[in-house]
Structure formats: C-alpha cells, structure tokens
C-alpha cells in the first residue's frame, strides 16, 4: 500500500488520468458513443417499422434540401436570431441598471437569475397559461373592452418568440452584467474630463468595453434557441415547427430514424459552427487578457 502510494505520488500523469478516468469513460460511453451511432444511423437505410436497416445511403441528408425542410431550417435560424436580438435589446439595459445599482446589485441579480433556475417546463407552461384564450392577457384585454373576442395569442410565432426570450433572457443579462461590472469607473470619468458627454461616453467607452459580455450572452441565447424543442412544441403547436420538433417527429410518428438522425446531426453541426465562428472571429474583437 505504502509503495503504491509513493509510486502514485511520483507519477503525476497517472494520478491525473486516474482522476479523469471514471467521468471520461462515462462520457465516452454515454455521450460520444451515442452521437457516433446516431451519425452512423443517419447514413443508413430506413427500417420498415422504425429503426434502421444496413446499407449506406446519404438519402436522408439529400431530403433536407426539400423546400419544406429548408423552410424549417430557415424558421429555426430566424427565430433564434430574433430571440437573440430581443434579448440584447431587453437584456442590455437590465444588466446596465443592475451594474449601477450599488448595494441592490446582488438582490436584483438574484431576481433575474431565479426564474432561470426553475423548471423550464414550468415556465413555458406559465406562458401558455397566460396567453391562452381564457388566460390572463385575454381576460384583461376583454375586461378593459379593448377587444371583443379573445385574440389567438398561442400557437403563433410570437408566442414561441415570447417563450424563448422569456426562457433565455437571464443568459444574456448575466454575461453583460459581468463585463459591465468589471468596467473601471475611472475610464468613464476620464472620458468626461476630456469633454465627452454622457451619450458619447457610453458609445465610445462603455459599449465597446462591454462587447465581450454581449458576445458571450448572444452565444448563450442563440445556441439553445437553435435546439429549442419544448417551446415551439407547447407554444407553437403544429405550425411553428423548428428543427427540434422535426427531429422528435421522425423518432415518433414519423418512424424515419435515419432522417431524424440526419436532422439531429445537421442541428449539431449548426451549433458547432456557430460556436466556432463566435469564439474564433469574435475573439478577435475581444480585447486580450491583461498581462
């Protein structure tokens, strides 16, 4: 035992790999392997009762060029982009306000983060509850005599958008807040002492220096939005289909596992591409680390 301990102490690498092994093996078996198998499936023949038959074919990927599916892809990208934009527009001022809130900072931050930590399903359902024909929004509008009959708020692109923004807004607020918080107040004062008015100070100093936070936040909103499944499912109905829903259909009623796998793979490729672009090109716009 002693001898083993001493040997281990001397071999740093072995210790390192020993620590990493259990988790890594689990991840290899239950993350990497499944994705690989799914990749293989995407290039195989469709089985009669679901599942796959052996045989190499790229037909599933070819099907994706059908306008129907391209439209789904387009809608997914469009909704994800719009969600990100809305989160920036709504989230930046919130982060700015919190960063300047003095001793209320932590309390406010907690208020922003709290909904995000609670169940996504529950929150999406809460929006459903709010937007349905007999929900609070319609009831209030009716009571105020602003409308005669309930508006169809649910099962619209707007509802999906609302659900996505509602779900991912904290992901934008937190990184932007982090980069604003690090801003040296002396920089703004220096700008002012050099003659810059408040608006100019914001545009020329605050905004450029909070760009890293914006980039990170955009990443954290755009990517999950791309893979959204629950939100379009509950809030969009059958009409607002995004890639996530498409994938689910193929493994459910559609019984087209290769196509579903292909769609899933395309989604994953999309996500990785976005991550790559953001991190490599975006990193050029970011200031380098000090020292």
């Amino acid at each position: 035992m002693r001898r083993a301990a001493r040997w281990l102490a001397a071999h740093d690498r072995v210790r390192a790999w020993g620590l990493l092994a259990p988790g890594t093996l689990w991840l290899l078996a239950f993350f990497v392997l499944p994705v690989a198998i799914m990749g293989a499936y995407s290039a195989m023949e469709r089985g009669l009762y679901g599942g796959v038959e052996p045989g190499f074919t790229l037909a599933s990927y070819a099907r994706f060029f059908d306008p129907l599916y391209l439209r789904i892809l387009g809608r997914t990208l469009w909704l994800a982009a719009l969600t990100t934009l809305l989160c920036v527009v709504i989230g930046y001022p919130v982060a700015y306000a919190i960063a300047g809130a003095g001793r209320w900072k932590h309390a406010l931050l907690f208020l922003v983060v709290l909904p995000f930590w609670t169940s996504f399903l529950v929150r999406t359902y809460a929006i459903m509850f709010l937007l349905r024909d007999s929900g609070l929004v319609n009831s209030a509008l009716l009571a105020l005599s602003l409308i005669d009959e309930p508006l169809t708020l649910l099962y619209t692109p707007g509802a999906v958008l609302a659900g996505l923004v509602y779900g991912y807004l904290p992901f934008m607020v937190l990184p932007v807040y982090a980069s604003l918080e690090k801003l040296d107040p002396a920089l703004l004062e220096a700008a002012e002492s050099l003659g810059a008015r408040p608006v100019a100070g914001f545009l020329r100093v605050t905004l450029p220096l909070s760009l890293p936070g914006l980039v990170a936040g955009s990443l954290l909103v755009f990517i999950p939005s791309l893979g959204a499944f629950l939100t379009p499912d509950l809030l969009g109905g059958a009409r607002q289909v995004m890639i996530g829903n498409l994938v689910q259909q193929q493994f459910g009623a559609g019984r087209d596992w290769p196509f579903g796998s292909a769609a899933s793979f395309i989604l994953m490729a999309l996500v990785l591409a976005v991550v790559y672009v953001f991190l490599h090109r975006g990193a050029g716009a970011l200031p380098e680390e000090v020292e």
Binding site: A186, S193, G195
Partner: protein
C-alpha cells in the same frame, strides 16, 4: 492667500464643503491658485484632498461654497463642460484604443480635420518624450507603468487646458522614475504656462515640484505657503510633522516650538556650548543609519529629540554610541513657535 488683488486667480475655492452621509470629507476649504502656478495639495489618505480635486473636476458636487475657474463659477457645470483636464491615479487609459486614439480622444469631439488631430497627437506625445512612430499604434496593455503615465499626461495636455489636474499620478512608479517624472512635470509647467493642481501624500514630492503647497488634514486646510514657508515655518505641529522629521517641544519660554533635526547639533557633555545656543542634556537612545545621513535619537527628559548627525561630527573622530551622554544644541532662531496647540 491671493497672489495680488488685481490678478484673477486661475482657481478659487471659497468655503467649499462636502459630506458623504455622516462623514465630512471637505470642511470649509478656501484657497486660490494663481495662473501658471504649480499648486500642490498635500495630505495623508482620507484628509479630503482627492475629494477636493474631484470637486474641481466636476465628479462631485459641493454641498456648500463656490468654485471659480478664471473668475467664473463652475460648480454647476458637468465635467465635460469644464475647460480643464485630469490625469488619473490609475491613468485610466482606454484599453480598447491605441495610444494615438487615446490621446486623440478629447480632440475628436471637437470635429477638427484628421490631419490636424494627428499633428497635435504627435506633438503631445513628443512633449512627454514618447516617440509617436513607435508608440502611437501600441495598445496600453503593452506599455510599462511609466509609459502609461506619460500617455495619460499627453492625452490631457493635447487639449491645451488652462488648468491641469493631477491625482497622485506618480504613486505607482519606482523611486528613480518618480524623480525623473517630477522634474519633467515641473519643466512642463514652466514651458507651457499651464496651471497645475497636484494632489499627493508624498511631502518630498510636494516640496520638490510646487510653487505653493496646501497642507490638508481631516477635511481642512492647515496651511498654505511656499515649500520653504511650510517647511521652515509650519503653523501647527501637524504640518511640522507631516513635512518632515520635527522636534516639537516646550521651549524655555514656555511656548511650543519646532526644530528640525538638521538644525540641531550634538556636543560632548562638558565641552563648551557656543554662545547664544540653546541646549538641553540627554542620552543617546538609538542611532539610525539612513544612507546619506545618520540620525541620533536622544532622550531629553520625557521627550525624544531627533538629531541629524553631520559629517563634521563624524570626521572629527566623534563616533557616537548608544548610551552616550550628550548635549543637544540649536540656535534660538531655528526654534519656530507654533500657533495653536
């Protein structure tokens, strides 16, 4: 103290007060700064000197009193409308802009032609002895502390402000660099004729660079005067002690006086005390070696005197040791009476 009744001071504070919650940061501070003067506000941390400077710059609003710039009230003006520029303690260089863009920042707002901005940036950098060709395109991160300090200076000076504010700009530099920069700042002040208002806690710095010094303590100004005035004729024990080593004690006349260590001499007991000198008897309690000089701590009754030993004392073969009985002597003229306590 105003320079002369006819000349409008460049800066005038009249009974300015500022409090933060319960704390009084600045309590009825009044002073004038003449045009072109190098004026230092000297004090330890927390005395209110930085708050005073920030009120001049416009980052804090006074609760009472007036601040005048060239005869006009500026307390209502926001910082960007005040015709002065500030060099910050942390330099506050914009990390996302190059050195040249940093220096050009204040100019760009004025909608000058590009060529002129570039020319003025170049000459500002040359003024602080940074080669524009080499440093212009660098990012602040790539500069040393001393270089950043110069860029901060250039950025403020390029605007040709009538008054330049400096908030302990040399604090982060090492001693040698600090002395170099002190000389350069002094030279710039003379060359450009710009009024400098300089805040520091280093009394050596204040004495070396200033035309006049205001000593601040606990939100009030204790004394304003030339370096010689505040050093040789301090008004209070605080000022005396802050400006340098000081021996504060009750003279035979009953008044409290201050005598600087370098104005005192040590004599062997029994040797004749030269005519006219005051003296006391005591015993050497410690000897402090400071490189360029040596101090003897002499216990005289309940008080400790600090005496600077001069070379003649040593050359003459007089080597002092701890425990030696000595006589401390000084010229009565060098005992400066303090006001107040």
């Amino acid at each position: 103290m105003s320079q002369g009744a006819t000349l409008t001071p460049a800066v005038r504070f009249t009974r300015v007060c500022k409090r933060f919650g319960e704390t009084v940061a600045v309590d009825g501070v009044s002073f004038d700064v003449a045009g072109g003067e190098f004026f230092s506000i000297l004090g330890s941390s927390g005395c209110g000197k930085t708050t005073t400077l920030r009120m001049l710059a416009g980052f804090e609003r006074p609760d009472a009193g007036e601040i005048l710039l060239n005869g006009e009230r500026i307390d209502e003006l926001p910082p960007w409308e005040r015709p002065l520029a500030m060099v910050f303690q942390s330099y506050a260089l914009f990390p996302h802009l190059s050195v040249a863009r940093n220096v050009a920042f204040g100019l760009e707002r004025r909608k000058l032609p590009r060529a002129e901005i570039d020319a003025r940036v170049r000459s500002a950098l040359e003024l602080v002895r940074l080669d524009p060709g080499v440093f212009g395109r660098r990012s602040p991160r790539q500069l040393s502390g001393g270089q950043r300090q110069r860029v901060a200076l250039a950025r403020a000076l390029v605007l040709e402000p009538p008054v330049l504010l400096l908030d302990e700009p040399l604090g982060a530099l090492d001693r040698k660099l600090r002395k170099e920069m002190q000389a350069e700042l002094r030279a710039l002040n003379r060359e450009l004729g710009t009024t400098f208002v300089y805040v520091t806690h280093d009394q050596e710095e204040a004495l070396a660079m200033s035309d006049r010094v205001a000593v601040m303590a606990e939100a009030r100004i204790e004394q304003v005067g030339t370096p010689a005035e505040v050093y040789e004729r301090p008004r209070t024990a605080f000022v005396a002690g802050f400006l340098g080593d000081a021996n504060v004690f009750e003279a035979d006349s009953g008044r409290t006086v201050v005598v600087r260590p370098e104005r005192m001499r040590l004599l062997r007991p029994g040797s004749a005390v030269p005519d006219g000198l005051s003296s006391r008897q005591g015993e050497i309690r410690d000897l402090v070696y400071l490189g360029d000089r040596e101090h003897a701590i002499v216990g005289v009754g309940p008080v400790d005197f600090r005496v600077a030993l001069r070379d003649p004392d040593r050359f003459e073969g007089e080597t002092w040791r701890r425990g030696d009985a000595v006589v401390v002597a000084w010229r009565p003229d060098d005992a400066h009476p303090l006001e107040g306590a």
